[in-house]
Every structure is written in C-alpha cells, then in structure tokens.
Symmetry: C2
Subunit: 532 residues, 2 copies
C-alpha cells in the first residue's frame, strides 16, 4: 500500500488566494490528471480560467459532450488513468451519458466535473436547473455535489480514488459555480490516494489446474487485463492442451492482437453461436470477466449463455487475470513454446470491396503498434478475424452498445499515445452520432485514419428485423433502417471539419488511400469505403 498523492502545492501568496476551481485542478493534477476533455458553459467559466493558472492539465475542446466522454474512455483504456471531463450542468452531462455508459461497461476510470448553478441560485429552478444526480447515477460509481470550498480537495481525491479502485469506474463531481469562484483552502488532512495493486487467488489457480489435469474440456473466457500481451502469451502456453479453448469477451475494452500472439477469437454475438461454442466444454473459466449473457433476449433462447454449474472463476474483474494466467501456465507445466500466429500478408485481388477484403487490406496496412478502434459489425468482425496475422496492434471495441463510440475513443487513444498510429474502423450509421469528433481530431492535429464503412443502412437492424420474422419490410420499416436517401457524402462532411478525405470502392483504391493516409502525419484523414 503506497501513497501516490501529495498535498496540493501552495503556488500563490496570501494576497492571491487559490480559487475553488484552481484547488480542484491542483488536487486532480496531484492525483495524476493530465487531460481534460471539455465542453464548458457559463457555470464552468472559473474552471476554464483556472486551466490557464494550474499547470499540467491540457484542455481539449469537443463540440459535443459525447465526444468528450468517449475520448475520456479511449484515453483511460490506453493509459489506465482517469481523464477529466468538463461538462455543463444536467443537459451537458446528459449529452455525454451514452459514451459514459460504454465507459462504465469497459470499466474505464473517468472523473467528470459538472458545473452547476451557484448553490444559492439552485432553489430558484432557473431554466438550466435539473436533477444531475438522477442523470449521473446510472453511469457513475460515485456521484457527489461539492458542498463547500473546504470539501473540494477531499472530494476530488475521493473521486479519483473511487475511479481507480479495481476494476475501474466513473466518478461524477457536481461543482457549483460559487464554490469554483471563492478562495478554497488546502486541507492538511485531505486523504491521500491509495494505490492497491491487483492480485490473484492461488487457490483458484490450483482448482483450474486440477481441472485441466483431469482432462476436462475447458473454455476460457478472457476480459480486462487478461487480454494483455503477457496474458495472451500465457493463454497460448495453456492452449497447448488440446482440450482447452480460449475466447475473449465479445466486446473487450482493450485487446492486444497480431505480432505473433495467439489467435484468440471473440465469443460470438448471437446467442445460438455462442452457446454452441460454450456447450462443447465441461467447464467455462472466467478470467477478469463476468458470466456471459446474451446481448439481447430472444424468445426460446436463454439469457445466461452458460449454466451456472459449469462456471468457474479464475480471476474476477477486480483481480489480476494476467497474473493468474501466467501462474496457471507455470503450474500446468506447458512446454513454454509460443503458439502464436506468425505475421503474414494476405494476397489481395484487384476487385470491388467487400467486408472480408476490407478486413484483410487493413490488416496488411497496419504499422507496428497501431491502435484500432472498431465500431460496427459490418467490417468489424471480418477485420478482427483477419488481424490475427497482422503486425502487433491494440483493438478497442464498443463495450456497452451505445453507438457513436468509435470515433471519440480513437480520438482519446490518439491523445494518450502520440507515438502510435490510430485507426477508426467505423460504420456509417454509428459514426453519425458523434460526427463532431472530426473537428477535434483536426484541431489537435491527430494523425488518425478513419475508415468509414459506407453501406448506407443500419445493417444490424435489418438483420434483427429478419430474425423477428419480418422478411418483407414495409415502407416505414425500410425507411427506418435505410440511410440512402440522401446518402452521406463523407468527403464533404470531412472537408466541413477540415479533414482531408477520399472515397475507395476497390481494393486497390483502398490500399492507395491507406498509403496516402499513413503518409499524412500532421492530422487526421478519412476514407469512405463504398461497399456494393
């Protein structure tokens, strides 16, 4: 147990007291905050001014709050550290909820700062007044209003503490503007930030080892830190046992892939397929993930994809799945040989694009240490299948199903990892929810490569309508799932936000566009991939 927090430094003399806004930023900076994804309004102006007084916290402006919260998610997934968001009262917070929902499912640490009316003005129910706690609770592990200037430092430290506590969560601090403005003391008794390293349970390792020695057919389901390079390499060694199979969560927050790692498939999305995979096993072992549940409920199919009696936990979501896998690999005495997939390139025919070819062309193009934010099934699944043999890369997926997540997460990842190339493989429908991301990418000169799958429909909804038995769509159902009237002109939209863009319809065009985008290092590029 170590203390990583030092009391906020007193940077000013007696005549220029530290404001509440400055006090919060000092405490946040001391707790490790380096970035603030902001869409402020009138009630956050003291915090805006304080960002120029307190050094070390970079402010990044989003045109829409969902861009800010999604970027904080991407940043947190890549760094393990909470970004700040700065949001404007209840309605501003509300615009950020969808991507906070995704971040909550990803267990990403985030600290939201939400300005509010002056505490004495709140009872008068001015137009922008709303119940921020009611809005924040569904996505926040901790919600607190800072009730006085004396509480600012302690509340901030607690917010970081809560966000960082394994497995990671979202803290929301509501900060009335009068407390931002007034002088705020530094408390000698402010609690320190306590780092608690993740551990694993040796007895669980032994129990699973026993299972493997007994010859049981075992499926491992990996999430969280179990999908690190080290975790996957350990899985590869355990996987020398032919009775063992590994899957990752269907929508992992972050997974390493390619560059010689084993090919760990995602658990299938539709319950029939997932059940088929899991039923073949005598036991399903959870490693930093929860029991698999059907994404949606379908009549005649169960919600729980595995019978509880066949479930075993090697590491729960608060524990260290990576360490547990490494130990298990030692215990079961595998040879230590690598069982990874050797990197290789796909031979690509010169033809029109389809999802499988998009996946292969992108896999071929990935530079080492790329980050790929994947949203949308059309090209997402084929890409992940293809990319096992790509160069080493990190994949970030939509963990919570609230769409409009892929572009902001790519933005946050690019801020977090300026040395790595970031790609956003993104469906057209979902891209529209947070299209404003393009502007912040251009403004921050982030060399993100966006690949927009242009199929001009909500593909998943048409699939679901067919599953529900609507084979012939009526005109309104068709209108509610088609995006072709008018079709988006992606190069125009990108130009509107200062992002260069091209359109690609064939494999050769896509390859050329990727070459060009990778050569463009001073800002983002967009490629509209037109599928037939």
């Amino acid at each position: 147990m170590e203390t990583t927090y030092s009391p906020a430094p007193e940077t000013k003399g007696a005549e220029a007291a530290t404001s509440g806004a400055e006090r919060l930023l000092l405490a946040a900076r001391a707790a490790g905050a380096e970035i603030c994804f902001a869409n402020p309004g009138t009630t956050e102006m003291p915090l805006v001014a304080a960002l120029d007084v307190v050094p070390g916290i970079r402010a990044v402006l989003g045109l829409f709050e969902g861009v800010c919260t999604g970027a904080a998610d991407g940043y947190g997934r890549m760094t393990g550290k909470p970004a700040l968001t700065l949001l404007h009262l209840g309605p501003g917070f509300a615009n950020g909820i969808a991507n906070l929902h995704n971040a909550r499912r990803a267990r990403t640490p985030i600290v939201n700062i939400v300005g509010d009316h002056a505490s004495w003005h709140l009872p008068y129910d001015a137009p922008l007044t709303s119940d921020i706690h009611s809005l924040a609770r569904p996505v926040s592990g901790m919600v607190r209003t800072i009730e006085s200037t004396a509480d600012i430092e302690g509340d901030t430290v607690e917010a970081f503490q809560a966000a960082l506590k394994a497995p990671g969560s979202i803290s929301t601090l509501v900060f009335p503007v009068d407390h931002q403005q007034h002088p705020a003391p530094s408390s000698a008794s402010a609690p320190g930030l306590i780092a608690s390293p993740r551990r694993f349970d040796e007895s669980r390792v032994e129990a699973v080892a026993q299972m493997l020695r007994s010859g049981k057919r075992v499926v491992f389901l990996l999430g969280g830190g179990a999908l690190s390079e080290r975790g996957q390499r350990a899985a590869g060694r355990i996987g020398e046992n032919p009775a063992v199979r590994f899957f990752s969560e269907t929508f992992p927050a972050r997974t390493e892939r390619g560059g010689g790692l084993p090919d760990i498939d995602r658990l299938p999305y539709f319950p029939e397929k997932a059940i088929e995979q899991l039923e073949a096993a005598d036991a399903v072992v959870l490693v930093e993930t929860i029991a698999p549940v059907a994404y949606f409920g379908y009549e005649g199919l169960p919600s729980m994809l595995v019978d509880e009696r066949r479930l075993t936990t090697l590491a729960d979501v608060t524990e260290c799945g990576e360490g547990a896998l490494v130990r298990l690999a030692q215990v079961v005495g595998s040879s230590g040989r690598e069982t990874g997939v050797s990197p290789s390139r796909y031979a690509i025919p010169d033809c029109a694009l389809d999802p499988a070819l998009v996946g292969k062309v992108l896999s071929n193009a990935l530079p080492d240490e790329a980050i790929v934010s994947v949203e949308g099934g059309t090209c997402g699944y084929p890409f992940v299948t293809a990319s096992a043999s790509a160069a080493r890369h990190t994949i970030l997926t939509n963990t919570g199903g609230a769409i409009g997540q892929g572009l902001p997460v790519a933005l946050g990842a690019a801020i977090a990892c300026p040395q790595r190339r970031v790609f956003a493989l993104q469906s057209d429908g979902s891209a529209q929810y947070t299209i404003q991301s393009l502007w912040t990418m251009a403004r921050e000169r982030l060399p993100i490569v966006m690949l927009i799958t242009s199929n001009r429909r909500y593909g998943i909804l048409q699939t679901e309508l067919r599953r529900a038995g609507s084979v012939a769509f009526g005109p309104q159902a068709r209108a509610l799932t088609e995006l072709d009237d008018p079709a988006f002109d992606w190069p125009s939209l990108a130009a509107g936000y200062g992002v260069p863009a091209v359109r690609a319809s064939t494999t050769r065009e896509l390859e050329a566009a990727l070459d060009q985008a990778l050569a463009h290092t001073s800002g983002p590029s967009l490629i509209e991939m037109v599928l037939a």
Copy 2:
C-alpha cells in the same frame, strides 16, 4: 435455481392477433398521435414493423436522438399535440435528454416510447441495460414501464392524458420488447382521453383591473398562450394606458410577432437589465408564466428578479392567459383601437454583415406566416428586435438553455406546418450539437431555410468570462471558447447531408441567398452568414 428460459412464444391465430406494438400504436393513434420521430434499435423492431400495420402514424428517422426529441418539441409547440418519439433503451433516451429538457421548459406535450430488453432478460444486466427511470425522471412528468400486455392500452392513454394536461408535459413509456411482440388485448375498460379546456379566474381579472384603475405602474409578463395573436392584441388595447408595459418571457416557447401586432419586447437576459425594467413598476403581473428568475446566479445580484410582494398572477401556467387578457381589455374599457406596429421594410445599405443588419434583412425577407426558430444570441436578439415590423410570423426560442435545439425544432415545426415557410436562425456553435438534423430535413424534403451565424466562437462564453473578470484570456481559455481552428466549412457540411448551401458576407449577398432559398421549395437550404 430458476429457469433462464423465456416462456414459449405464443402462436398467432389464423386471424393474426394484434401485437403489443400494434396495440400501443392503435391507442396512440386514437389519442391523436400522427407522427413518430424515431431512432430505433433492436429492442424496438416490433414497433418498427407495427408502423407499417397500423395506419396513420408517419415515421420520421433521425440519425441522432436529440434530433428526434427536438423535432417532437417543435411539432408539439406548433400543433399542441404530442408527437411520439421512438428511442433505444437508456443510452438512446439519454441522447434525447437535452432537447427533452428544453421541451419540459417549453411545457410541450411529448410521449416518448423507449424500447427495453425483454422483461425476463432485464435481470441479467446485458451490456445495454441501464436505469431508464433514473434517466427519464428529470425530464418527464410521467415515467412508467409497461409491465404486461394487458397494460399497454391503458398506459398509453394515461401517457397522453398526462402529456396533454395543462400546462403540458412529457410522458415516457418504457416498453419491454417481449410485450411488444406478444398478442395484446384491447380493454373495454381502457380510460378515454379527457379534454380539459383552460379557464381563467374572473376575480384575478378584477383585481388587476382595480390595480390599473388606481393608476399603478404595472408591468405584464406574458408566456404560453398569452403570446397568441389574440392575447397580444388584447395586450395592445390594455397598453393604451401609459402606466402599463408588456414583456414576454425572455425565452418564450412560441410567440406571434409582426403583421400589425404590438411590439412586445422580451425581458432582458442579464439580470441587471431585467431588474431595471421591472423595478420601474409598482406591480408585476404574470400571465401564463412563472415569477422571473435570473438565468444564472451572479454574486451581488438576486436570483428573483422581482420582489414577491410586487408579484400578482393574472393567469398561472395551467390557466388561459389569452382569455384573461381579452377579458381584462374589456373590463378596463380600452378604446379597442389597435396599437400594433405597421409592417414596413428596412432600408438596407450595401455593406458587410453585422448582427443588426442580419436581423433587418431577415425581417424584410419573411413571407407571411413564416415560422422562425431562433437559437443563439448573436443574431437572435437583433432579429427579434427588428421583426416587430415584419410580416406576421411565429418565433420559437430555446426555452431550457440546452443548446442544439434550434435545428430540430425547425424540423418539427416544418413537419407540423407544411403550408408555412420555416427558418432556423442559428448560431454556429449550437448548430453543431444536432447537425444531423440537416439529413432528416433533406430526406423529408422540408423547405427549411437555415441561416447559420458564423462567428467562429462561443460568443456567450466570452461574454461570461469577461463578466467574471477574465479580461485577458489565457491560451486554454481562448482555445475553449474559439471555434476558428479549423473554421467550419458550412457549405461542405451541408453538401455532406444533401443540402444546397451558399455563403454570404454582405447584405446584398444575404438578400440574394434568401431569394434563392425561398424559391427552392423542394427541400432545405443553408446560408452561412459570415460575420466579421
């Protein structure tokens, strides 16, 4: 251990039983619903299919839920009838909250239908599960989950009843997908929709008449239906008394203006100015509005803009302010002469655009019976000042302060009033929050004329920073309030959504652009107004 399997699906009879989704739409149609602003997902597919079975409800697709809820607000303000929205679980609802916040402040009737997981799937906390009630409560007068197929009809009628009850509010029905799918009975005992006409209180009219007869200086503050043509004409007659002055709410949901109506100013936004106007009066009389409160709290200034002892209510927000004004005009025995402003045209110099000139050029261009959705102060205030002498028009403003309201409200108004020309006078920063509105306007061929004030900054925030004493902005404060790096290319953004657009920097260019836009009747047009 309980079974995780759902009940077996019921087989439909040869006569094809009415599904729950169809039952809800039938009940909504009977209650007056004609339109559904929809952004559905998997859990709303039975409702999507039902829209093709139940006649009479037009589905309009939004690419983002804030477009749908804002459009429902615009539609409700123009028709007095609730539109349906169709939203996808908690995160989809959350994306619609900001404009529901505005609609709540406008007292617009709306009925939200939010699909949810199958009732038997909910306990398993699948990725898209969230606490929808907690999200919905801050913006909804009624929130209810439909608990069984037998409740669908009754719950729907109650939702409409609640939404339509004076002064108007938002109802949110959470509709699990299994209840949408299963056959649902029609209940003979379902409650009917009860119309309750608004009334006013004669004794209050007499009390205010007494005040006027006694020679008191009286300020009337008008909101809601008091801002109808009839209400304003009555105000004009009462206003022959030189001791009387009229203001509208600062952000009225709907006000008629021009075409010979009296020039009723909006109560100023900043509290000092508002207090100055109100302090001159012996009494402030409320007509379908609430006691005026400062938009934000500023140290040293009160929250309540009028001392409670000087407040009198002629009609509260549930009553008929229009009727009360008409009766008062009769009682105080005014001459009946009209005191309206005669329509006239401004002489416009040939020069660069500024906000005052934009207001005048637009006033000149308005055809009779235009609707103008105004969001953003830069050109909004000058336009409203100028438009007293324009042709008769209706103004819709941002009632709740959650920005991103103007374009969707224009969209909803255009759906509601296909015979009237709709304008959106919109600031650039706020337009970005719901930029996806353009696509639905193009798709629905709505001849809306969008005028985007391009000043490439959050003007109000710079004003507020200055008020807070930050005369010299630091680099981060500047970055968080400037939108010039990169500047939006509005014609490109519009083209991306299939909307023709031009740029205007001078008065003559703006006049020509407005002529062209008005001649274009088969869809929307956008004019970027570049201010120096």
